[in-house]
Point group: C2
Chain length 370, copies 2
């Protein structure tokens, strides 16, 4: 193994997912200045492509200059002020993180809990909102990467808005692989990552803010605690300041923007619907194969993009994953948090969600577990 | 101009600087998982190379997953607690930002001001420390990118430590182009960017923390306000947790790490001293040329990596820069903040600091200003 030349893995873990050659090529295009008219045009195009993939008309849609968790933090620091009451759904690692991030913003977080692997029925959320009528924001994870649970979002905003709160959604592992309609579902703030169903390397976090979220930000009593993620300044760079021109904020990750643009073009060339249907089909194919081997799924409502399964009795967790990596160059994920040692996570995301990969990982697992 | 193919600019602005082909190639290598043993080895190597370039033995030396300003925020959120008194040197845009970032962390910032373009004599800093004996941290910008001023750092830590405070340094535009000895100068915390004298695309911010800074972080009464930049968690991923293994925190920007490693290898192949000397030589060559054209420098102590000059009387600021870009594909920077419309900033950073570029930009300026 020569460290100078990264190996060509088949990335079937919880992300990053396999990156198409076109995206890697885009990544290595010449670096432009962050205020170069050509770069600004590329950035504008990237934001417009993001709107299409998020299915939103929100102007405030752009890639935050950090990985997915920076997007979570961006939503939190801009929408929450110290003392705000918020509800966060915690049924896995990422809900737990959102709770932690919100608390660091000074929020009082009311518990909304479910066993790991389960989802929140809308009635439970409505109930919790009734108990906490001063709630200003509800944060929920659509695709809980630690458990593979798929939280329904449609219909949730109505309940949340009726209570006078905002709806913030974590779509890190769903964007580009699962149905996700920001405008139709009236989501107020959302964030994702590039390295999951978009099949771009990690490094950017696409976010989108709707009118209610903007109103909330405009009414803030104090500055967001993060300068780096302060949307009131970021928007002057991404969309122009009062005078119309771009206002320098920080140096955007230029080459990563090229890669994201290319990855989004690929998503839209395939078509969102076809892509989402492909993720469903590949999930079903994998599921049939795994269940045929006697391997069961952990979540009650499984994501298509991430398959969280019980480690078969007697199987060696780390040893199996190591052999898959060493013999096949296949990466799958171990369990996270309370699932460590109990679960494997097989990602079928974006460019990785193919019949070739499904059949390969099933064959490899059969061989290694034999 | 076809947006699909970024143009090949000669980047002589305030950053990004020109990226060597080797670094762009490294960027496009296959994406590995962030816990893949091969990636972890690449990350370890990158941190070790960073230590060499920072001239430090600090174990806690790693690239933050964001651009330079994320590094500034990382230093602030981890070293400052609400109510802490800090001194920040403000003599340009970046000192002003550091003040803002510190205040967002709840710090009481004592003013240490100098006119834009000037530097802080050590006596002035000592004086300010005497007036504010409860100061916990002094933040200062070595290379003020907005004015081109070069702040001396050697000898400063002694004064700061005698007062019981920590020294935090902004080295965004100096690392790899100017003398910078983290251990010899006893700097407690430092951050930089990849897109300046290291000639890597933007997207990562190398930071380093010494023993005093670690002690301060270990003694914190409350969690840092940022989850994404919380060093107590980041270090468990970068250097292993209590049990020895890596603990997942966030998905690192994999391909950017490849690029940074390659960029650092190039720095060390040339040799730090030779590289710093080259930056000095190219600055002098440019300076002679500009002064020969009657163009004067703004700062009293100019950086080699960034040349901040007065726009000649009668010259059209935006028009000149546009012609340089359109006719020559050369990017130089306009003035920032109070310098807008008054200054141009010519960067000679890393791969861009060559005789070819110096003579080219002089010739092009002569042509456009004629």
């Amino acid at each position: 193994m020569n460290n100078n030349h990264p190996a060509e893995r088949v990335l079937l873990g919880p992300g990053p997912s396999p990156v198409p050659a076109r995206v890697l090529q885009a990544l290595s295009a010449p670096t432009l200045g962050h205020l170069d008219p050509q770069y600004v045009a590329i950035l504008d195009e990237t934001c417009e492509l993001l709107r299409q993939v998020y299915q939103t008309k929100n102007k405030l849609t752009f890639p935050v200059s950090g990985t997915g968790m920076a997007g979570m933090e961006c939503v939190a620091v801009n929408l929450v002020e110290p003392g705000d009451e918020v509800i966060v759904g915690v049924n896995g690692v990422f809900g737990g993180r959102m709770k932690d991030v919100m608390q660091r913003c000074g929020a009082t977080v009311h518990p909304l809990e479910a066993p790991w692997g389960e989802i929140f029925p809308l009635e439970q959320i409505a109930e919790t909102l009734k108990r906490h009528p001063r709630t200003k924001l509800v944060g929920i994870v659509q695709a809980e990467t630690s458990t593979g649970a798929h939280q329904p979002i449609a219909g949730l905003a109505e309940i949340v808005h009726r209570a006078g709160a905002l709806l913030a959604v974590d779509a890190v592992t769903s964007l580009g692989g699962h149905e996700l309609r920001v405008d139709d579902w009236e989501i107020d703030a959302i964030y994702s990552g590039t390295q999951k169903c978009l099949s771009c390397p990690p490094g950017l976090s696409p976010v989108s803010f709707g009118a209610r979220a903007i109103e909330r930000m405009d009414a803030r009593k104090q500055k967001p605690q993060s300068w780096y993620l302060d949307v009131s300044m970021l928007k002057q760079y991404y969309f122009g300041g009062g005078g119309g021109g771009r206002v320098y904020h920080h140096t955007a990750p230029i080459n990563m923007t090229y890669a994201l643009r290319e990855a989004l073009l690929i998503v839209l060339e395939e078509g969102l619907e076809a892509r989402i249907e492909r993720h469903a089909r590949m999930h079903q194919r994998l599921r049939r194969g795994l269940e045929g081997m006697g391997i069961s799924y952990i979540p009650t409502h499984s994501l298509h993009s991430l398959n969280c399964i019980r480690i078969p009795e007697g199987a060696d967790d780390a040893g199996t994953r190591r052999r898959l990596l060493e013999e096949y160059g296949i990466e799958i994920g171990g369990g996270l948090g309370v699932m460590a040692g109990k679960a494997w996570r097989i990602g079928l995301m974006g460019h990785g969600a193919t019949q070739r990969n499904v059949d390969l990982v099933l064959t490899a697992l059969q061989h290694v577990l034999a």
